[in-house]
Amino acid sequence: MNNLAYKHETFRDDYTYRNSPDAIRRFPFPFAEDHYMYSVNIEQHQPGAKGSIVEHAFDIDEHYVSECEDKLITLGQDKGRYAALPHMMDAQWDFLELSMESLSRDYPHLFTLTKDGERWTWRNGPLGIEDSFVFGDAATLPLEPFEYMGRQVQGDFVLLDQREGTLFADAGFITSQADWSLAFDVGMSWHEWHGPVPQVEKMGIMDRALKFLMSLQQGNPVRRLNWTMTINPRLDTSPEHFPEWGPDKLKVTAQNAGEKAHLRVELQTMFRLPRSNAILFSIRCYLISLEELATYPRWAKRFHRVLRDLHPDLLEYKGIKVYHEAVLAWLSQHDDGAELALGAHPE
């Protein structure tokens, strides 16, 4: 079950972030096989098993309050983490509506939404927020609608406008990105922002994924998992703040890798929005230390094999190369070479 007793923990400085046994159990381990390569790993975002991270449209977990606090710190340091081009105002309201309706439906004990015609009242229990506003009138909210709710939902969000046969990242709320920059990418098109990703061109992955998304339909959201690694449980691994987290990569050893090195998995969901015809792309980040991961031996074995055999271009792109040896040394202690059945399940 998903434990919602919020913990006070940090994603920077003293890094007190930890996962409870429940959170480890429901961690979205992304490897069903011993080998990993990019693919168009898109599936329907249907409600999943009770307690799983895909039970609801948006997953709220034990890290909710601390993660929202971390967002505010990052935004406070760098206002450019939120940006919305003027033609995205309808999409902003679509996002506010989808997130408020989903959270209040899926977590009624935490969030409530009451509507009296266009006058809406939103209550966020965990964060102690209550506001009444007129839907569609941005002047009645303390912040723009996208920023207002972006601060109250775990994860990062991009709003994409569809035109000229492609998608444009025309608004974003990005405080926990894996080394890419909103300030750089805003206003860019699909193939432009995916430019740095290696190996995908020759497999036609980006063309196929784009065609699929262009015909994404309302009422039929989809999801995929993406992964990388992060040293220390840090959400804000942005290029802007590289000096604060980059050097940590050099401090990983075979002895401390279990504690320092984290598998970072993104649950990415995509929704077609009603009024704007835009697409919402949400990136929900889950962090787990190798020690926590190794609570389930098959996960440690499998991750060892995936990392050991990962394509060098991917090791480079994901920034793992510098500490690859150290992490492999730590993981190899947990891998007896036993054959593993297909599947990403913990036991």
């Binding site: 898109i42 599936e43 309808d90 196929r208 699929f212 339909q217 309302q218 009024r275």
Partner: protein, 317 residues
């Protein structure tokens, strides 16, 4: 993909051969929101087959209490428009798709010219609401044979005032596309919906005047991935599966208890690929996964979106 269940709450004759239908949600609640230019696909069960036609939504996107469509009786109709005119009554229950928009107004444009011919007015009915709300500059040019053939004129006049320009052919008012497009400022977007001849002429004129493709828009509908019924023969499991006109091959096999792997159900991921051993017809590939060469060779099929025009297709499963 789930359908929306609606009930017909009103029917009006708005012009010669054009009926205007109002739908409300069967559960009495709100219908999903949508954007100007959207359409729905209406399923019409007529005896042992189902017609599926796409119709633009006419109502204001701000109003989620009902949807409205207009249907012109087409003499050469496959049956869909005839069904809507003859079988559908107030109180009839219908299944419609969620709204889909393949004719959106560009949100980065500042000036928009909308050109409608006859029943081609329908997608603009919802677009003008969005344009009025966002305050973008626009004109709607509405060409029709005679007022008797033109629906919604009074409503549009009231809503749009001098943003509406009517071209009544019975009064000798011919829409001069060249003159219209020539006087637009650089960066204007043009949208056209109407008879094929008009659409082609407008696109040709815009090209001639050097308009970029990204600024020329014409209405497209989602082609429903349906076709004729046929039978799948499964070589390994020694089973026959009938595929109905409205279901995909994947859905038909699932319903028959056959375990077929899948992921995206949209022709992109490649997971559901199956080997074709034989068929007495042709495969209709609708996926983005197989290469053109593979599609041409006819040895593979993605059953989540593709089907075949045949009596049987044999798969290695």
């Amino acid at each position: 993909m789930s359908a929306l269940n609606v009930i017909v709450s009103n029917i009006e004759l708005v012009a010669d051969g054009i009926r205007h239908f109002t739908f409300i949600a069967a559960d009495g609640g709100e219908l999903p929101g949508f954007s100007g230019g959207s359409h729905v696909v209406v399923s019409m069960p007529a005896g042992n087959r189902t017609y599926r036609n796409a119709y633009s939504l006419l109502s204001s996107p701000a109003d989620r209490s009902n949807y409205q469509i207009a249907v012109r009786l087409q003499e050469q109709s496959r049956g869909g428009s005839r069904f809507m005119h003859e079988q559908v009554k107030v109180g009839t229950r219908l299944d419609i798709s969620w709204p889909v928009n393949l004719f959106p107004i560009s949100r980065v444009g500042h000036q928009h010219i909308l050109v409608a011919g006859g029943i081609g007015i329908t997608p603009f009915m919802s677009q003008v609401h969005d344009l009025l709300r966002t305050g973008a500059g626009f004109e709607l040019h509405y060409a029709f044979r005679s007022p008797r053939h033109a629906g919604f004129i009074d409503q549009l006049k009231q809503l749009l005032g001098n943003k509406l320009v009517c071209h009544d052919q019975s009064q000798g008012q011919i829409l001069d596309l060249h003159a219209l497009l020539s006087r637009q400022p650089l960066g204007t977007h043009v949208y056209v919906c109407g008879p094929d001849g008009m659409v082609d002429a407008l696109i040709a004129t815009a090209h001639e005047l050097g308009w970029p493709d990204a600024h020329i828009h014409n209405e497209e509908f989602l082609a429903p991935p349906v076709g004729e019924p046929f039978t799948i023969r499964l070589r390994q499991s020694q089973k026959n599966v009938d595929v109905g006109a409205e279901v995909s091959m994947l859905e038909a096999m699932e319903a028959a208890g056959v375990d077929v792997p899948y992921l995206c159900r949209g022709g992109a991921c490649g997971r559901c690929e199956l080997e074709v051993l034989a068929t007495d017809g042709v495969i209709e590939h609708h996926d983005h996964y197989l290469s053109d060469a593979e599609k041409g060779a006819g040895k593979k099929i993605m059953p989540c979106v593709s089907r075949a025009k045949c009596s049987f297709i044999e798969l290695n499963l």
